[in-house]
């Protein structure tokens, strides 16, 4: 047939890729003094070019977002490291700047934060392999009864709980698989269907905030603020509970139930064999160790290797399971860390922030402003990519502005940005959980947007108030 013709369809990808190549190339080639940042060095100019390449690639997505991350690391090695191409190693001595050590750039692929996530992946893979997720869901859902509103609360609580330890997408997929057979029995006209289907991705996005390993943006945030697992959960879990309740109320109000009763059937038969018990015990012990680091002194990153070691030693995770690890998520985060490292080490982040006049903004307004920017961006692009792009700049902003100190300094503004990144959930493209919910055909885009924007804004304001409170109690003085 017209097979050959079909191959020649023009693609918008190529145009996007061209923009993402040409703009950074232009920045790389222009004379240094064209860029209006005082004190800028040649090395910093190259970092700006890499930053623009990353930003355009992450926003336009002509290539997968994890590919962009690896490209960031590769370009840094080629352009700004001490193993760079020879012509790039020297320049005018007065304005050249410092090259980075190549080992520091490569080390981002195995940074402690990456290993923390690897530990989280091991927990999640073992839990799903031995069916712990389904068994737990079956047990935990029971007390929520059969009233639609309480069942929805139950679904949301369990989704959020799961997504604290497994990926938001996996938590959503697992809970939607529990919900979808029941939906087939519910009246098509009932608006409550929308509430139930939206409750799951929203709870997954929100629950991801609960622990450092819940969602990749948290990892990027942790790169700029030194918090233990327990310190993170201390404020994140109460926030998750509050915003979950708020979302529940919003969904009830927007999409009221007509159905009187809904019965979930979870086919989870508890298993009891050595390996299943070992998974339960290791899971519990790891969390316990994470929360008690003050007592034993081992940091969160090292504890993350407990499940890795135990599961491999006991052959609970075998070499086939190892191939299931989402390397693309780890590398996506690595690229973000590498980008931030380059901006900080070369001095670009500081130069950039000093060249912008923030004097018109009060600290509180600034925190709200960056939160809003992050929230808006996260609605249209990957949450992790948003964090990758914004956090290096925001963190520099926090460190270099003395007025922010009274407001919790860099810590508060970094946390605001990190949390705002996970609150973007108003469109199917905002997050994979949203996309899955939309694909059920139960939710149209306006409904998702209405609820998602409302919850995003409530979350932003609520977290802002929470930061105020945390600052009052001296939280940021102790970290």
């Amino acid at each position: 047939m017209d097979f050959k013709k079909r191959l020649r369809q023009p693609s918008s990808k190529q145009l996007k890729a061209a923009v993402a190549i040409l703009v950074p190339l232009f920045i790389l080639l222009i004379p240094l003094h064209w860029i209006p940042i005082p004190g800028l060095t040649v090395v910093e100019q190259r970092v700006i070019a890499i930053f623009f390449a990353a930003a355009l690639l992450w926003v336009l997505e002509p290539i997968p977002i994890y590919a962009t991350s690896i490209l960031v690391i590769f370009l840094e090695l080629l352009l700004i490291s001490d193993t760079a191409l020879l012509p790039f190693r020297e320049g005018p001595p007065e304005s050249f700047g410092e090259l980075m050590h190549y080992k520091d750039i490569m080390a981002t692929l195995a940074s402690p934060i990456i290993l923390l996530f690897l530990g989280g992946f091991f927990l999640a893979i073992a839990a799903t392999k031995y069916g712990l997720d389904v068994q737990l869901a079956a047990v935990l859902l029971r007390p929520f009864g059969a009233k639609p509103n309480t069942v929805m609360l139950g679904l949301m609580s369990i989704t959020a709980l799961f997504s604290m330890f497994m990926s938001n997408t996996a938590a959503t997929a697992m809970m939607l698989s529990i919900l979808s057979p029941i939906l087939r029995e519910v009246d098509r006209q009932d608006r409550g269907r929308v509430a139930l289907v939206l409750a799951i991705p929203f709870a997954a996005n929100i629950g991801g905030l609960g622990t450092p390993i819940g969602s990749p943006p948290n990892a990027i945030g942790l790169n700029y603020i030194n918090l233990s697992f327990g310190q993170w959960m201390l404020f994140a879990v109460p926030f998750v509970v509050l915003i979950l309740l708020a979302s529940w109320l919003v969904l009830r109000r927007l999409f009221p139930f007509e159905m009187k009763e809904i019965r979930l059937k979870v086919p989870g038969k508890p298993r009891s064999n050595f390996k299943t018990r070992a998974v339960y015990i290791t899971f519990g012990a790891t969390i316990l160790l994470w929360l008690t680091d003050v007592l034993h002194g081992i940091n969160s990153y090292t504890i993350a290797l407990v499940p890795v070691a135990v599961f491999l030693v006991l052959n609970i995770i075998n070499k086939e399971d190892l191939k299931q690890i989402s390397w693309e998520v780890l590398w996506l985060v690595s690229g973000g860390i590498a980008l931030g490292l380059a901006m900080e080490r070369t001095g670009l982040a500081a130069h950039l922030v000093h060249s912008i006049d923030f004097s018109g903004l009060t600290p509180a307004l600034m925190v709200l402003l960056v939160g809003t920017v992050a929230l808006v961006m996260a609605n249209f692009m990957s949450h992790t990519a948003t964090a990758n792009l914004l956090l290096p700049i925001v963190s520099a902003l926090g460190v270099s502005l003395p007025r922010l100190a009274e407001w919790g300094g860099s810590g508060a503004i970094v946390l605001m940005t990190t949390f705002a990144c996970s609150l973007g959930m108003s469109l199917p493209i905002s997050t994979p959980p949203n996309a899955l919910a939309h694909a059920t055909g139960e939710v149209n885009v306006p409904d998702m947007t209405k609820a998602g924007v409302l919850i995003g804004v409530i979350g932003l304001v609520l977290f802002f108030l929470m930061l105020l409170g945390m600052n009052q109690f001296g939280f940021f003085a102790h970290i």
């Binding site: 047939m1 191959l7 996996a170 997929a173 939607l176 698989s177």
Partner: protein, 159 residues
């Protein structure tokens, strides 16, 4: 979006049209190649391979003048290049021995008897497409609208 093809082989034009019509719901994302003989199908799959594109599902009739469908599917199964391709037999005229051959040597993924049920055909193709995309590591997100939810959930739960 990657180019992912469906392929139908059926020597009777009107039957071929009926199959393609039933699968029209996938056409927007997954172009359907129509072949009236095994020989034609072989040229098309070679073209698809040469162009570096995906062949997700092959739906083949059994009794055809040039070569029978099961023999073709057995060869396809042994072809390393199309290991991931899903195979479906759509026939009313396969003997017991043919069927055994199809299962054991072609490892067919689905068998549908003629006359077929439209919904069943669509459901199977949807499932097989989903499996192909997930197993081949293709980003499933652009195709969500056409994929089978349950298959997707079972696979994504594992990540």
């Amino acid at each position: 979006m990657e180019k992912i093809f469906l392929l139908c082989i059926e020597d009777q034009r009107e039957v071929l049209n009926a199959v393609v019509e039933d699968l029209a719901i996938f056409e927007e994302a997954f172009p359907i190649e129509e072949c009236e003989s095994v020989a034609e199908a072989i040229t098309v799959i070679e073209d698809i391979y040469d162009a570096g594109l995906h062949l997700a599902v092959v739906i083949s009739d059994h009794v055809m003048p040039d070569k029978n469908g099961i023999d073709f599917l057995v060869e396809l199964h042994q072809d390393e290049r199309f290991r991931a391709t899903k195979k479906m037999l759509l026939t009313g005229l396969a003997t017991h021995a043919d069927t055994i051959n199809a299962i054991n040597n072609a490892a067919i993924d689905r068998y549908i008897a003629k006359p077929w049920d439209k919904e069943m055909l669509q459901g199977y193709v949807r499932k097989l497409l989903t499996e192909y995309i997930l197993e081949s590591g293709i980003d499933y997100q652009p195709y969500l609208k056409w994929l089978d939810q349950d298959t997707l959930y079972q696979k994504l739960r594992k990540y």
